[in-house]
Symmetry: C2
Subunit: 127 residues, 2 copies
């Protein structure tokens, strides 16, 4: 698998994007409104930051209230997300999404429960 | 800059390494005792997970007590860590390390304060 992106929960995606452009020399690759979120992808040489700003109530808004802004998840890219989910189930990892669903940027995504991955929220993504 | 690794604080680096090997199809690339930590690097196609298990008191032990296991930091690789730190200072990012220091695996590293990067602990690393 390949590192795809680090998801960052923030209450100011544009402000953070401006900072990261300067700080990391990256550029905005994609922006969209996805469900209740403003989402900005910033492109590194081998992956992305995904900045997630809630425009309404939802999981990221709740996350921000509870934890404040910061790292939310790590996404790993796979060529076969269904096989990746089968492997996860085989090793007794609890799946948040038992089937892939359509995520931001039109990618197929599925999340694993952090309680069974050492406390880290992991997303599988297939482009 | 390039994604280098995601640092994960854990109280069982070996157990988590076994799980990630199965779950992500990655392999152990490096292990060492670094300061008060057991450190295991697991290799993805384009980067690493760095598993950090405290063997004694220190920042990771305190992090685990406060937050439990999970994502601790994101490391970005640069060819010129001193220039990266100058850029960070120029855009008013607070530096934890004003000069690079020797980190795990013999790499030069420097951390930025999460309070000025949107709540995310960032490490610059030069191999």
């Amino acid at each position: 698998m390949r590192f795809d992106h680090a998801g960052v929960a923030t209450d100011d995606a544009e402000g953070l994007a401006f900072l990261y452009e300067d700080l990391f020399g990256c550029e905005i690759a994609h922006e969209e409104r996805f469900q209740e979120l403003k989402v900005i992808f910033l492109e590194l040489e081998n992956g992305y930051f995904e900045l997630l700003e809630p425009q309404d109530d939802g999981t990221i808004a709740r996350y921000l209230k509870r934890h404040g802004s910061g790292l939310h998840h790590i996404a790993l890219e796979t060529d076969d997300i269904e096989a990746a989910l089968e492997t996860a189930a085989d090793v007794d990892v609890e799946l948040i999404d038992e089937e892939p669903r359509r995520g931001a940027w039109g990618h197929d995504v599925a999340f694993l429960h952090p309680g069974s991955t050492g406390g880290m929220l992991i997303e599988f993504v297939e482009h």
